[in-house]
Structures are given as C-alpha cells and as structure tokens.
C-alpha cells in the first residue's frame, strides 16, 4: 500500500536525513540518524531490509524493516522552526557522539554505542554518565536529582569530588586562554592590559577555595550540581531530567 509506514519511510529517505528508531535483537530500542539515500538501492525487497549510512558513525547499517518502529524526518508539513530543530538535533547528536568517543577511554564505558544510541536514555542519562562515570548507576543519580532518593554519604562524597574536578578542569581551560592573552599583551607591551589580565588570573587562582568550601557544605546531589562558580560558567549541563 502506498501509504504504508515503510513506504513513507522509503520516500523520506530519498528526500533527506531520517532519524530511525528500531530494535536490535531485543526489545530495547535504539535511535540512529541516517543519510539521505542516493537512489532506491538502499532497500532490499527480497529480504525486506534497509542498508543505510549512519551519519553519526559513518558506518553502513543493515536494518530489518520489521524492526523499525518509528522515524523522524522533515516532510511537507514541517515548518522552518521544525527544520531548524531537526538539523540542530542531528548536529548535536554527531558532536555528542564525538565527545563520547573521546571520553570513552577515560570513563571506561562498557559499550559506548549501546549506551549512546539507546532510545530510552535521555540526554540527562548520557550527561550524567559522561560526568560521573559508571561508579554510581545513572538511575540512582537521577533519583537523587529528582529528590526521590538520597545518595549514600560515600556516593555523595564521590560526586562532590567529581564536580570539584570538573570545575578545576574548566578553570584550567580558562587560565590557559588567559595565559595566551597575557602573552599577546606582553608582546604588545601594553602595561595596562597586562596588569588587568594578571589581576583576572589571580581571581581564578582564588576561586578553588570558595568552590571547595561551598560544595562541601551541601547535603544533596541537587545542591551540588546546582552550584557552579560564576567565574567559570557555563557549568556542565545536566538538567534534562
């Protein structure tokens, strides 16, 4: 039937990128984004499967049509805001995956693809995993942020240390930028600018103590993650619960 779900999907794939939600072997759903097809050869009618290029990983994926449960795409009814939203969503997925791939070794994910592409894992799940690693189950962190359950004292201590470490990393990034600007000011022999830059740098040197003291006074994970030193904004984003 021309109107069938799979026929509509084929049509959309010839028009542009499509985000497809499908099962891989189990009932767990995965969501991946696929490139616009060059021609109709992407569908094997004999075996009823699609061969599509994943935009995020640049790999060819084979998907059985019976495993596909949803797809998101631009169509004739999509307004300009919707188009922009879709394009941004794909860009965000791609850059987030690249960031995960870089971090994967230090955080020791079991399987970054399995985690990253799971449809039921929200951005918050992924952000929390990226920040706090796998020591504490993500579900426990989410419960704590929602105020439904509390972390143990040890778990909270662990999270505080991670948050302080994230703050330090951010601070060092900013100081590195300041150092390069100080170097430029030295070359230009701009004494006023140099003095100003050094004063700013000194403030950053002092902010660790303030941050450490504040974080250690907090009793819940929400308090911890709600706090970030104003000098080092933006904070890691973990608010999509």
């Amino acid at each position: 039937m021309e109107n069938s779900f799979i026929e509509i999907l084929k049509k959309r794939l010839l028009q542009g990128s499509v985000i497809i939600t499908y099962k891989i072997g189990t009932d767990i759903l995965y969501e991946r984004c696929f490139m616009k097809a060059e021609n109709e050869n992407f569908y094997n009618s004999k075996y009823s499967h699609f061969q599509l290029m994943c935009i995020i990983k640049n790999t060819l994926e084979v998907i059985k049509s019976s495993d596909i449960v949803k797809f998101e795409s631009i169509d004739e009814d999509t307004d300009s805001l919707g188009k922009l939203h879709f394009e941004n969503k794909i860009k965000a997925m791609k850059s987030a995956y690249e960031m995960y791939s870089l971090k994967v070794k230090s955080i020791l994910f079991d399987d970054v693809d399995d985690f990253f592409f799971r449809e039921d894992y929200t951005t918050t799940h992924k952000q929390l995993k990226l920040i706090f690693g796998k020591t504490i189950p993500v579900e426990n962190l989410i419960q704590a942020l929602r105020g439904v359950a509390e972390l143990s004292e040890n778990e909270l201590y662990f999270c505080k240390n991670i948050w302080i470490k994230a703050h330090e990393e951010r601070k060092l990034e900013i100081i590195a930028i300041l150092d390069s600007e100080i170097k430029e000011a030295s070359v230009l022999e701009d004494a006023d600018l140099l003095a100003e830059m050094n004063a700013i740098k000194e403030e950053y040197g002092n902010c660790y103590g303030d941050f450490f003291k504040e974080i250690n006074s907090f009793k819940t994970l929400k308090e911890v993650t709600d706090y970030w030193h104003p000098l080092t904004l933006p904070a890691p984003q973990i608010y999509r619960l």
């Binding site: 039937m1 109107n3 069938s4 779900f5 799979i6 509509i8 999907l9 959309r12 596909i68 449960v69 949803k70 797809f71 998101e72 795409s73 631009i74 169509d75 009814d77 999509t78 307004d79 805001l81 919707g82 188009k83 939203h85 879709f86 969503k89 929200t122 951005t123 918050t124 709600d226 706090y227 970030w228 904004l233 933006p234 904070a235 608010y239 999509r240 619960l241």
Partner: protein, 179 residues
C-alpha cells in the same frame, strides 16, 4: 453456490491468509450491525465501516467477501504524559517533555508538535516523546495515516513547581479516539 466453507464467529483480522473462508457473520462480528445482515451495509464510509484499514473495501459498486480480508474496525487509544521545565540556577533548563502513547489498529500514525519535526510511528504501544521544551503552549497533532483523520491537543508545559497539562484530557489516562 453454497458457502460450505462459512465460518461463524471468527474475527476478520484472524482470517488474513488467502483462501481462508469469510462470512457475513465474520463481517458483522468485526464491524457490528444488526440482523438480517446485508453486505450492502458494509461499504466503506457507510454507517458501520468508518475506516478502510485494508484499503480494499469499496465505497460503492460491486462488493465481495474477499474485500474484507485483513479489514479491522478502527480503534485508537491515546495516553498523554507531560512534565514541566525545571528551574535552574544559571540558565533555562529547556527540559519540558510531552509524551504521547498510542495503541490501535492501523500502526501507522504521524505525531506533530509545535516547533518540532514530525515523528511517524509504525508500532502500537509506544510512547513518543518531544523533549527539550520550554515552558509554553504546544499543539500536538496525531494523524492516522490510512484514514487521514487528525486529532489536535493543546498542551501547557509549566515552569516547575507549576505543573503541565493537556486541555480537555487528563494525563496518564487512556482515552479512546473515534472517527
């Protein structure tokens, strides 16, 4: 010809294999109606057959039992969830969520939400979520592709502690949609 192969009390959607017998009783069981049964009562867009779920039931003209293989009466149930955007110390959280759960006969729906890309759903019993929403009003439209029938719903996503809601419907409750 005598229909020696007539089977009474079977639902039509259970008789999808070609060659399986089908009867007026089957058709009545699926689409309702009263005795005496006449095939002429079961044209598409008549009083009893609101949806042509197999694409074969004619609106008029010659009709036959085989046109009803795979046909089902229309059914669509919907359930809504909505969660508010949470307040954040340093920026907008943009984390409101609208969830639309669908279950029904066609397994071919399109769900649209203001400012978002439409999502086509091909399986019953799934919740489709629109995430990253600001506290605002949103129109969600559900279209049943085979019948081209649409239903629109107005959501209000609040900024916590304010709640979220959908006009004229209750959240987390299954509602039946009719043609």
């Amino acid at each position: 010809m005598l229909f020696g192969m007539i089977v009474i009390n079977n639902y039509i959607h259970m008789l999808q294999k070609a060659g399986n017998p089908i009867s007026l009783g089957n058709i009545q069981k699926e689409f309702a109606g009263t005795n005496p049964i006449k095939l002429s009562e079961y044209y598409f867009e008549g009083s009893l057959v609101k949806a042509n779920t197999n694409g074969k039931i004619p609106k008029s003209g010659v009709n036959k039992f085989s046109n009803y293989y795979g046909a089902q009466t229309f059914n669509l149930d919907i359930k809504f969830t909505a969660s508010s955007e949470t307040a954040s110390t340093y920026s907008n959280s943009n984390n409101g969520v609208i969830g639309v759960y669908l279950t029904g006969t066609s397994n071919n729906w399109k769900i649209s939400c203001t400012g978002e890309t439409a999502i086509n759903v091909g399986s019953s019993g799934l919740t489709t979520k629109f995430t990253g929403l600001n506290s605002d009003s949103y129109t969600v439209t559900v279209k049943d592709i085979p019948t081209s029938k649409s239903w629109s719903f107005t959501f209000k996503i609040g900024l916590a502690p304010a709640g979220s809601s959908v006009s004229n419907y209750s959240l987390n409750t299954l509602h039946n949609l009719t043609l």
